[in-house]
């Protein structure tokens, strides 16, 4: 098993699937400035996804390029975490999904920038600045919603109740990760789990919202066992390359 390929592809899938979700908002944001901001975040996310896909293709070295990895794999071959494929819902749900990922990504990419794999370290280095900005954006909206109107408070609380069960996967580790952690290539996410939780607890306190208490954590993404959302997303995303398999775009 090519652990480096598996690991890089997971990270690429996370970014690609999240970017795809975010891009669904373009042209439909709650107001123009926010439409532009969210589109920017989608663009950053696709940028990271592309760099990671390209590297995954190179590491795999089987003649597939980044587009082949993005457009020619089936649902069961995608290894993103379940959180990023969840439907956008209302703006509170989109923002809450984003803040969970952004808070994680700031810590994650900061560590990943120290990876012994130079390409991965380089991609992470570039991503740090972007995800820090993304976190500023999403966290400030969480506070505004939580401490805004009764309606916005309820919506952001509902979103947290609904999405928290998908956060367990952020800290899962399997053989691939453990092997690469030992080699100094992958990030040991467990090492910053309590920091991530504390940071979010402080944010939720400011927003006057509460994490749901006893939650059964969902899992499966790493093994390609997804929620029903992903299949629809991929059929839409992949339609043209699948329809005209010989075409170049």
């Amino acid at each position: 098993m090519n652990h480096l390929f598996t690991y890089t592809l997971r990270l690429a899938d996370n970014a690609l699937v999240l970017g795809q979700r975010l891009s669904e908002w373009t042209g439909h944001g709650p107001f123009l400035e926010e439409d532009l901001a969210l589109t920017n975040i989608a663009l950053d996310t696709f940028g990271t996804a592309t760099s990671l896909m390209e590297y995954a293709a190179k590491v795999e070295d089987k003649g597939r390029d980044a587009d082949a990895l993005a457009y020619r794999r089936n649902e069961r071959e995608f290894t993103n975490i379940l959180l990023v494929e969840q439907a956008n819902g209302d703006y509170a749900k989109t923002i809450l999904r984003q803040v969970l990922v952004d808070a994680y990504n700031v810590l994650f990419y900061t560590e990943l920038a120290k990876s012994k794999d130079e390409t991965i370290a380089g991609i992470a280095q570039k991503a740090i600045k972007e995800v820090s900005y993304h976190y500023r954006h999403s966290s400030s909206w969480v506070i505004r919603f939580g401490d805004g109107t009764e309606e916005s408070h309820n919506k952001i609380q509902d979103a947290l109740n609904e999405l928290w069960r998908f956060t367990g996967e952020l800290f899962e580790q399997d053989e691939t990760e453990l092997t690469l952690i030992k080699q100094g290539i992958a990030v040991d996410s467990k090492a910053f789990q309590s920091k991530w939780e504390k940071q979010l607890d402080e944010l939720f306190a400011k927003a006057t919202i509460k994490k749901p208490e006893t939650v059964f954590m969902q899992t499966g993404g790493r093994k390609g066992i997804h929620t029903e959302h992903l299949g629809y997303m991929l059929s839409e995303m992949q339609v043209l390359p699948r329809m005209l398999p010989d075409a170049k775009w």
């Binding site: 663009l43 703006y91 916005s152 995303m237």
Partner: protein, 313 residues
């Protein structure tokens, strides 16, 4: 008496090719014309995000997806500069959006046509943005300063968009048989609606005369349309596609192409709300605005809560 002096100053500025700025005196019909034109332009940008946005999630490669996303974002940015330029004339974005959402304000009719295939994204960038540039280049030197300055930036970005569109058309036209058919089909559907973008023939264009006097426009609809046709024929030939106009013919005397008039009945129909997507576009704008209401309310409520202590101090 005083008004007369103001008017002389205004006319003198126009005569000297100087810019009129927001604090300068200006005739009321000049202000009204500008608000109408700038806001229609702003509305066109944000409504224009919809037909192209329709393909963002289906863009066929990672690169195409990023380029299209950036392009649609640019259109939103143009909307933002233009609303801001319109606000310098004493109106507000809320008023302008309200006019759009209630169907009172117009936007470019071209966006009432559907984007049915990926080639339509190429055709829009190439033809629609190409036509828009031809209309807009002259606006960089228009008499109203904030509008002229917004247009400088917009035109720069639009020329990237046109290249992006032509690049898609190139990939398709030199691609597989199916891709080439897709490109031809898009050209067939977008050609005449694009010609309509220059507005009705000069003889029937009610707003042109003042617009030219005020340097809000510098060339007539028919002049611009002719220039567009002349420029585009060679681009179509390069792609190896057929121009969907049997009446197209080189006219040696005028050193330009003769072409068939678009269907002006269709044009009037689309303008008056009966185009294929008028209802969908307006409904989509209204839905986003309405769905965003609680978001805007939350932001306002939060800002108010947290501004008070500072104001009291």
């Amino acid at each position: 008496m005083e008004n007369k002096n103001f008017e002389d100053v205004f006319e003198a500025k126009l005569a000297k090719n100087e810019m009129v700025e927001p604090k300068d005196w200006m005739p009321e019909n000049y202000r009204k014309h500008l608000i109408r034109q700038i806001s229609q332009h702003a509305h066109s940008e944000i409504v224009g995000m919809l037909p192209e946005g329709n393909w963002i999630t289906r863009a066929p490669s990672l690169r195409a997806k990023k380029v299209l996303l950036a392009k649609v974002q640019d259109e939103g940015g143009h909307g933002l500069y233009l609303y801001t330029a319109a606000e310098t004339l004493g109106t507000s974005r809320d008023e302008l959006l309200d006019a759009l959402h209630t169907g009172k304000a117009k936007y470019s009719s071209i966006f009432n046509y559907p984007t049915l295939t990926w080639a339509d994204i190429g055709a829009i960038g190439w033809l629609v943005d190409g036509a828009a540039i031809m209309n807009q280049v002259m606006l960089q030197r228009t008499s109203y300063g904030p509008y002229a300055r917004a247009m400088v930036r917009i035109c720069k970005e639009e020329s990237f968009h046109q290249r992006q569109g032509y690049e898609i058309m190139t990939h398709l036209s030199f691609g597989t048989k199916e891709q080439k058919e897709m490109a031809q089909d898009a050209l067939n559907r977008w050609w005449f609606p694009t010609l309509m973008m220059f507005g009705p023939p000069d003889a029937e264009s009610p707003n042109s005369e003042n617009a030219i006097k005020w340097r809000i426009k510098r060339e007539t609809n028919d002049q611009l349309r002719q220039r567009f046709v002349n420029q585009t024929v060679a681009q179509i030939e390069y792609l190896g596609l057929n121009l969907p106009d049997a009446g197209l013919q080189w006219n040696e005397a005028k050193q330009g192409y003769d072409y068939s008039e678009p269907n002006w009945v269709e044009f009037k129909n689309v303008i008056s709300g009966n185009g294929p997507c008028n209802k969908e576009r307006l409904a989509a704008r209204n839905a986003s605005h309405k769905n965003g209401e609680w978001v805007r309310a939350a932001a306002a409520a939060y800002a108010k809560k947290h501004a008070e202590p500072f104001m009291a101090a």
